[in-house]
Amino acid sequence: MSEFLMLFRSDVSLERPSPEQMQAMMKQWQDWMGGIAAQNKLASAGNRLTAEQAKIVKPGGVITNGPFVELKEAVGGYIVVKCDSAEEAAELAKGCPILHIGGSVEVRLVIPM
């Protein structure tokens, strides 16, 4: 059993969803995560990340406000799952609601320490 990080990316240039859409999305997320937890495969519910107050720090003391000027996609959150293989983790990721709004899920093996 290994741990895999799921990184959610979505298109930040798209229009913001309405409160009703957000409510519906919240249910989709909770049902999806609940389903993973019900299989006893959720290692950590992770965190959601906001694009507000993002800073990029570069060499030479250069600090800019967020990476979003040049990038279309931004990381919106992550969870950690426990699976036997990356294939199994990818199978779980297929149900992720981010895919419904044109986003993507990146699955990465966590190197055990």
Partner: protein
């Protein structure tokens, strides 16, 4: 109450009080002595009550006998010590003024402190629960062995080592300070919930005794709430949860002790008083910023007291199960969530999710699959119920599953 049930009943409720007060008086190092005196008291009761009939006030009788046995025990030891030690030779036993305080206040304080002493982090969680069942709940060694799916010898060894450890570490008997109360309280709450579950879900067909176990757990929890330091949101959430569950106690078991499923229960048998109490303690639990699993489970139990099958009810329960599973996985929560999914979302979604659970050594898993498939694919439903039948060990359960198969 029948005479032959009175003694086990009193053992459950009074054993821990006698042990707690004695340990509070003489220290944790004297736990063995306290247990011996308490056991001895009940042995005397069993012998005498059988011959002479019940005393007018059995509890007061027990306290009196326990007090006398303690005094005799101490005198014996003092005499013995006196013989070998010349210095205290003249320290006659009569001079020894001993007051064992069995007032309600001291009984309550001692029990509370005993709870924390037993649930001390220096011993393993398994030992904590074992000792709690033994001392706070008056369980027999074989009953504890059953609960842990092991043998008496293992339990005896485990409890012996745990007591030794508590003695060696010189654990004092008191309420922990603010720094460690949260962590310590969590073990205490878990143990109380286990005790409640033992009564609520046990295979024991005696409804009286099972109910008594549940009430004992609620009483222990209420003792925590009565104390300012231990009156936490989590403790209130647990009591609320137990009130909601207990409100269905009479509705969920039939005359012959067989379980009645939630959707087949006669809701007029639900105890409105306990539901109100549950709501009260749930409100008390809604402070602070920690949402414990007890909060979530209490909220789930709250929605179950709503009889009507509304979309709102099932959607709320589904989201609560999603949350509960993210806090802590358990097979039973996973199965319940999947059933609720069929109510809140769609049957097909529930089936797809159920197929992923893979709890193939759990007969409830196959009962769930049978239930979900029964309108969609009768053959599959029957096959799953057959698997459930093969895995089930209880006669009443087997009958229940057979009935389900016959209806399909």
């Amino acid at each position: 109450m029948e005479t032959n049930e009175l003694l086990p009943h009193l053992f459950r409720t009074e054993y821990r009080k006698i042990v707690s007060v004695l340990v509070k008086t003489f220290g944790l190092s004297q736990m063995e002595m306290a247990e011996d005196i308490a056991s001895d008291t009940f042995l005397t009761a069993a012998e005498l009550w059988g011959l002479k009939g019940l005393p007018l006030n059995p509890v007061a009788w027990l306290y009196n006998v326990a007090k006398n046995k303690t005094k005799n025990n101490l005198q014996r030891h003092q005499l013995f010590d006196g013989k070998i030690s010349t210095e205290i030779k003249n320290n006659a036993a009569e001079k020894f003024e001993l007051e064992i305080d069995l007032s309600p206040q001291n009984i309550n304080d001692s029990q509370l402190q005993m709870m924390f002493a037993i649930c001390h982090p220096s011993i393993s969680v398994e030992s904590q629960i074992g000792l709690s069942l033994r001392i706070l709940c008056g369980f027999g060694i074989d009953e504890i062995a059953d609960a842990f799916l092991t043998n008496k010898e293992t339990i005896n060894k485990r409890l012996f080592r745990a007591k030794e450890k508590l003695r060696d570490e010189k654990i004092s008997i008191n309420i922990p300070d603010a720094m460690e109360i949260d962590q310590r309280l969590e073990t205490v709450l878990t143990t109380i919930y286990l005790l409640f579950s033992e009564g609520y879900y046990s295979a024991n067909q005696n409804k009286m005794i099972r109910k008594e176990l549940c009430l004992e757990a609620m009483r222990l929890c209420y003792m925590l709430i009565e104390n300012k330091i231990t009156n936490t949101p989590e403790a209130n959430a647990l009591l609320s949860l137990m009130c909601f569950h207990a409100s269905r106690f009479d509705a969920r078991i039939n005359e012959s002790g067989e379980p009645i499923f939630y959707n087949e229960q006669d809701a007029t048998l639900w105890d409105a008083d306990l539901i109100k109490k549950g709501e009260y303690f749930l409100n008390c639990a809604a402070t602070g910023n920690v949402v414990s699993k007890f909060h979530v489970e209490a909220a789930i139990a709250y929605w179950h007291t709503h009889q009507n099958d509304t979309k709102e009810k099932w959607e709320n329960i589904l989201q609560l199960y999603n949350k509960l599973l993210q806090i802590e996985y358990s097979p039973i929560a996973a199965l319940n969530r999947t059933y609720v999914l069929s109510k809140a979302n769609t049957l097909l979604e529930a089936i797809a999710e159920a197929e992923k659970l893979n709890l193939t050594n759990n007969h409830f898993y196959f009962i769930l699959l049978g239930e979900l498939y029964k309108t969609v694919d009768k053959e599959k439903a029957k096959k799953h119920l057959q698997s459930a039948l093969a895995l089930s060990k209880l006669v009443t359960e087997k009958q229940n599953i057979q009935q389900k198969m016959d209806i399909i």
